[in-house]
């Protein structure tokens, strides 16, 4: 399973990669902002995207809207510090399938990944 990890913090990408590795996912491509993700995503053909919201150059919400204009099916989880209900609704309207608020435990992120993949009809297996 190919997973695109979009976050401007390398530390946060490493933390999420460690969780993904525990779930058996090692085919991971990293992007440092929305622009970087938009340039990498088409060729990578991700089966799942984990996307931060607040990033320089292009934020995660803008990326999701841009990606969803051409691709309605890739499962996307927003992983962000934006915890207000209004933001969650905004993200879901933009096309995210699930939402994780930072800080998170490894168990919570694992659970969200598995339920998102199940909801979107994909296997959580690597």
């Amino acid at each position: 399973m190919r997973i695109l990890l979009v976050d401007d913090s390398k530390t946060m990408r490493n933390i999420q990669k460690a969780v993904l590795a525990q779930l058996g996912h090692t085919e991971i491509l990293e992007a440092c902002d929305g622009q970087d993700a938009l340039s990498k995503a088409p060729a990578f053909r991700a089966d799942l995207m984990l996307v931060d919201w607040n990033m320089p150059n292009m934020d995660g919400l803008t990326f999701v809207k841009a990606w969803r204009s051409n691709n309605k099916t890739t499962p996307i989880i927003m992983v962000t510090t934006e915890a207000e209900k209004s933001r969650v609704i905004e993200a879901i309207k933009a096309g995210v399938n699930n939402y994780v608020v930072k800080p998170f435990t490894p168990d919570l992120l694992s659970q969200r990944i598995q339920e998102t993949l199940a909801k979107c009809g994909q296997s959580a297996a690597a």
Binding site: K10, E82, A83
Partner: protein, 170 residues
Amino acid sequence: MDPMFIKPFIASIQNVFSTMMQLQVTVKEPFVKKDSNPCHDVSGIIGMSGDVQGSVILSLPQKTAENVVALFAGCPMQLGTPDFADAIGELVNMVSGGAKAMFKDKRVSISCPSVIIGGNHHVARQSDIPCVVIPCTTDCGDVYIEVMIKPASVSSPAKTVAATAHPAKA
């Protein structure tokens, strides 16, 4: 400063440190900072805009910062490297993001973080916004949150420049 702007930071730093690092945070009595006092060796800064304006600093002595970053990242990092700054930036991002979600009926945006490393540095701020320091104790050492925000609706024109760093030494 309205306590509604302070309590969320206390709850948020306790949540961030316990969730990400299993680190308990004990909060001591907040106080108003005098302009002449410098920050600690490492400062992560986040700007806030929208219904409130101002900035927030997570400030740590060097040794504490090294301990906290090692726990957060899962491995020791050398002070002053981009990865070290990244980790501090992500911590202040999470603390500020969690706090702003607890501001009642306020829509607030936060900036991407900036990090200053260097002993005896000062961070300038708007002169019309007091700085409330929340001192915290952890097993990694002391951590300080400096909150300098006010409601945008009662704002007056900025009297000085926004936060600017003047590290005295690297």
